[in-house]
Amino acid sequence: MALQTKHRPGPLARKEAWEGRLYILPWLAGFLIFTIGPMVASIYFSFTKYSVLSGADWLGLDNYTKLFGADRLFGLTLYNTFYFVILSVPLNLFAAFLVALLLSVQVRGINLYRTLYYLPVITPAVASALTWGMLFSGDYGLVNAVLQALGLPTFNWLFNPKITKLVFVIMGLWGIGGSAIIFLAGLQNVPRVLYEAAGIDGANLWHLFRHITVPMMTPLIFFNLVLGIIGTFQVFTGAYIITAGGPANSTLFYVLYLYNNAVNFFKMGYASALAWVLFVIILVFTVIQLRMARLWVFYEAER
């Protein structure tokens, strides 16, 4: 690389360093303006009563005590969100992995399939959410028609608080194209020599899968798991469009509740406190995963 000595950087190295700082400046400035600044402001807001129109009045811990004490909906939205995350994340991860395996076969025309499988991801959320609303309609929905034809019981999917969350879990499965494509990239990059060597040693398909594919894929499984949990905790659009949180608040997910507080009730301070509680929850999950990663994520050339 460039001329540089360890102890006394020459003029060339100093120029290189200043250039480097200049190149990353857009990100660094954006990080300060759009991440650090808002985070600090958000902590402050969370201790105040604040609607954008008036100034912020200091409340101390009132928002938080209200949140954990008096707010019945807070607990309910947490329950709804955990329910959704616990079902949706593992299911999506598993389905995405299977789809990626399927799409990793090397046959003519496979690229067309890869593209088609990705289509649900590029459909506008409003369009797909409303289509799902139609398909799950209790009166004229196709899902019930199919169940009826098969002699199975039908449900009023979107109006029965006991099952509405399940509808969102099912809908979520149509978004697996994003993580599937990341898995697919990983599968393509598993060195073929590994399979060949194991094949010579007499390993069968299951052994190859279990002892080569899966370990080589653990970094990506980890990547998709961490980002999947972060994203799923913030589920919003589908519930906002289809059910607006109903019926009986059964689909009032955390971020939807936060949005309602901020935008509909102008309770910016309270919504900020909500945001920080969710942030801490997600952070705890992320840190636990980073710790656990050592136990099961396999990195090549570990030093």
Binding site: A2, E16, A17, G20, R21, L22, Y23, I24, P26, W27, G30, F31, F34, G37, P38, M39, F45, L101, L102, V105, Q106, V107, R108, N111, T115, L116, Y117, L119, I122, T123, P124, A125, A127, L130, T131, W132, M134, L135, Y140, L142, A145, A185, N189, V190, P191, R192, Y195, G199, L205, F209, L220, L227, I230, F233, V255, A262, M268, F279, E300, A301
Partner: protein
């Protein structure tokens, strides 16, 4: 990993080949495979198929029970009506402005920042890159409210600025990460030769790094176009005035009438989908190739 990756052929060819999972395919097995691929495909595409089918139906048929898949008659005129039912071309224009500016900003600034992280050495580099990586794990909800307050104070609500200006500040940690991983795989000899010839680093970025990076840049472009074209929460928060709505948000207001006109709504949805669909098919080869080349297989 880098060396091994280069040896693995990426081109997809027919004939007997082993898949990444080690399955070999031949004859009957291959037929079954195609059938299975198509079956899963139909299941995954079913909402899209239903959307298009509904867009061509007349109102009574939409509520027929049991539901019918094939429109009878095919009402292509629904599309003409849909365009008149809401300001389609105005929303299209807004969407194009937001998507165009945000994509330009993201691709430009992400590739410059990634160049700094991958090709220039400075003492704080590793520490700052770690910070950048950790921001990927930051839930966006924490910054939402103060950012909203900031843009409101600046008078940016109901302008294109809140949806486009942030894109010029690096365009997102994930894209910077992807590009940086790719830049690291390019040999430094080219840069060095150019520097010896007296080229500036900006020229090295523009004339050496960018031409080599078409595939990963295509990936980022497609991702950015898609996420901006379909963004719902951003316009929902910042575009309250009807004339500033984008297509993805505008669709929502087909429901403001007393009852939903499903066929027109679905026709408008299909029209919204078509441009990105064309882009995705056009960029497909680059896209798949680029996904494989970027650091996505991540180490």
């Amino acid at each position: 990993m880098t060396q091994t990756r280069a040896e693995v052929p990426i081109t997809i060819t027919g004939g007997r080949k082993r898949s990444a999972a080690g399955l070999s395919t031949s004859g009957l097995g291959r037929l079954a495979l195609y059938l299975f691929l198509s079956l899963v495909c139909i299941v995954l595409l079913f909402p899209n198929i239903w959307m298009i089918s509904t867009s061509l139906k007349d109102s009574p048929q939409i509520f027929a029970y049991p539901p019918e898949l094939i429109p009878n008659p095919f009402l292509w005129s629904n599309y003409l009506v849909a365009i008149q039912k809401f300001p389609f071309f105005l929303y299209l224009r807004n969407t194009l402005i937001v998507t165009g500016l945000a994509t330009f900003g993201t691709v430009l600034s992400a590739s410059l920042v990634a160049f700094g992280f991958a090709r220039r050495r400075f003492p704080e580099r590793e520490a700052l890159f770690t910070v950048l990586l950790s921001t990927m794990m930051l839930p966006s909800i924490v910054t939402l409210i103060p950012t909203f307050v900031l843009f409101t104070r600046l008078g940016w609500v109901n302008t294109f600025l809140p949806l486009t200006v942030p894109a010029f500040f690096g365009g997102g940690a994930f894209y910077i990460f992807l590009l940086r991983q790719f830049y690291l795989t390019l040999p430094y000899d080219y840069d060095e030769a150019a520097y010896i010839d007296g080229a500036s680093s900006l020229r090295v970025w523009y004339e050496i790094i960018l031409p080599f990076s078409k595939a990963p840049l295509a990936v980022i472009t497609v991702f950015t176009v898609l996420s901006n074209w379909n963004d719902f929460m951003g316009p929902l928060i910042y575009m309250n005035k009807p004339h500033m709505r984008t297509l993805a948000l505008g669709l929502q207001f087909f429901r403001d009438q007393r009852y939903t006109q499903w066929n027109y709504l679905m026709a408008a949805s299909t029209l919204t989908l078509i441009p990105v669909l064309i882009l995705f098919f056009a960029a497909q080869r680059y896209f798949m190739e680029g996904i494989l080349l970027t650091g996505l297989s991540g180490r």
